[in-house]
């Protein structure tokens, strides 16, 4: 049982003080994390800011769209990376790139809404196609959509420029800021990551989110108490696609390029791994999974070489790391964290502290 923090507060505090103390002790971890993220540019170098935390926040956002569908809706969609990829491609097609033959060079404030709209339409369509399926069949349909888009992009030259894809895709300049320089870009990414995190958290307790969880637990009963289950699922895909599309746009600005290999089946699987390793039961999970993935991806090679092993085996190391986490906790890192915090609290309660 959870110990209410308020009762632990010293006697003599009034209600408001007790509430504030309870709030602080409940949210101290998230408060600390928020402060660190906010002031990170003051302590971290540009590589860490951009290639570690920035990348993890973007991947976390795209994985968050998967977590929303899988964790709240019970729908494991492998098409979320494809939604992000389509948004990225559309930014290159409607905005600027090194290919004047294809790119339309429209300003970012036209290209961005178009990209979100097209990617959102694709995500919604993926939902419409898979909403009447469950479990493994949802995974198969969305995987088929993801690999179909990969091959389309690979083989289509007039729009997607085949396997070369697009390079030199600039992030916007506005308000006198170059948003691709490391610190502004970090804050841009941080803003959207935090926004999407809190929006998902909020929606999970709103009628729509609760109904989605009802659909996950028992679709037949949801029909029986007056809900249109299929419509609810499709709407969830549309909402998730919005988050994935924004993530995809940030990703293409960060990488400055996009190609079919940005949306290949291996990338699609990596995104699933990120979400599952972090944990599907809370929107913080995908971000935890993403930071673990990015750190392993960035440093595993060097770590292997440092201990005298073949650096090319870094994928094996990543795989082993994920295997260990999933093996010990079906709910990923969140599950491990919940397990430990409940043990610590139980110990605290026994010793009367």
């Amino acid at each position: 049982m959870a110990i209410t923090q308020a009762t632990d507060a010293p006697i003599g505090m009034d209600e408001a003080q007790r509430n504030a103390a309870a709030w602080l002790s409940n949210y101290s971890a998230i408060l600390l994390l928020g402060l660190v993220l906010l002031f990170l540019p003051a302590i971290a170098n540009n590589f860490f800011l951009d290639q570690i935390v920035g990348w993890a926040l973007i991947l976390g956002m795209i994985a968050l769209s998967l977590m929303f569908l899988a964790g709240y809706g019970g729908m494991v969609s492998l098409a979320q990376m494809t939604v992000a990829g389509i948004a990225g491609y559309m930014i290159a097609v409607f905005g600027a790139s090194s290919l004047p033959a294809i790119s339309l060079f429209w300003p970012w404030w036209v290209a961005v809404p178009i990209a979100i709209l097209i990617a959102g339409a694709f995500g919604t369509l993926a939902g419409a196609l898979s909403a009447r399926t469950e479990g493994i069949y949802t995974i198969m349909i969305t995987l088929a959509l993801a690999s179909a888009f990969f091959y389309l992009a690979l083989q289509n030259w007039p729009i997607f420029n085949g396997f070369n894809g697009f390079t030199t895709i600039p992030a916007p300049h506005f308000l006198g800021v170059n948003w691709r320089s490391p610190v502004p870009f970090y804050y841009l990414v941080l803003f959207f990551a935090v926004l999407s995190y809190f929006v998902v958290l909020y929606v999970s307790r709103a009628p729509f989110g609760l109904a989605l969880q009802g659909v996950r637990d028992n679709p037949r009963r949801m029909e029986a108490i007056g809900y249109n289950v299929t419509a609810h699922r499709i709407a969830a895909y549309a909402f998730a696609a919005l988050i994935a599309a924004i993530g995809g746009i940030l990703l293409v600005w960060q990488n400055n390029q996009i190609s079919p290999f940005s949306v290949g089946v291996d990338v699609v699987i990596n995104l699933l791994v990120i979400a599952v390793v972090g944990g599907l039961s809370h929107p913080i999970g995908p971000f935890i999974g993403a930071i673990i993935y990015v750190i392993l991806r960035t440093f595993a090679l060097d770590a292997l070489v440092a201990v005298g092993l073949d650096g090319r085996r870094f994928q094996t190391l990543i795989g082993l790391g994920f295997l260990v986490i999933v093996l010990f906790s079906p709910d990923g890192v969140i599950g491990i964290w919940r397990h430990w915090s409940s043990r610590i609290r139980a110990r605290g309660a026994r010793s009367g502290f």
């Binding site: 609760l210 969880q213 009963r221 108490i225 007056g226």
Partner: protein
Amino acid sequence: MSTIAERIAAAGTGNAIDLRGVSRYFGALAALIDVTLSVRPGERRAVLGSNGAGKTTLLNCVTGDFPPTSGTVRFFGEDVTTLPPHERIRRGLRRTYQISLLFQRLSVRDNIYLACRGVSRGRFSFLRSRASDAIMQSVSDLLTLVHLDSVADRLVGELAHGQQRQLEIALALAGAPRFILFDEPAAGLSPSERGDLVAILTALPAHIGYIIIEHDMDVALRVVESVTMMHDGRIFKEGAPHEIEADPEVQQLYLGGGHA
């Protein structure tokens, strides 16, 4: 319990449930044969019978979970024979389920909330409900009505069996029910939980009528004023609880038949 006259006065005229010549076949198997049954608004009726007598099939024909092979079903005068279940729900018909079909990973409060929201507007709302919202108010009323205040924020998966049955009743009461079909609500309950169940059923608002399907005669006969006995897909006796209890044919077939 309020008197039947008061309840009928509160619920209006005509029949709440009107079955005319309803039959239901599963292939060659006749589960229900030419059943004609009327229940007045506010009336509380038990449908009793041994396993395979057709009780649950009767209930499914009324809710629309599967339609009758022949015959008509009327709900408050309206022919609902071909309407899907959710349309009947919007007209005020509710049912409970014998097996647990609750939302296991949501709290008790959230389960009732979903049921209340399901028959109102705003099912797709992305905005949270305020505590003062009318739906939130009816959620807390229902929690009290089924004696689940103390476990409102527990996950349903953690509840005792008896509490899950009580929650099942709360889901049926969400919105504005006019008539409820209870499918063996006492199944698997302890004697004290049966007492709670009887208290909850007898305390239901006067205008709400119900049909209760039950194996346990003790529970069923305490919460109804009329009884329909079924056997082999047919109705073979109707009457007040004391008449049914005293009937030698019923005792022979049901009470003495090794099923009770």
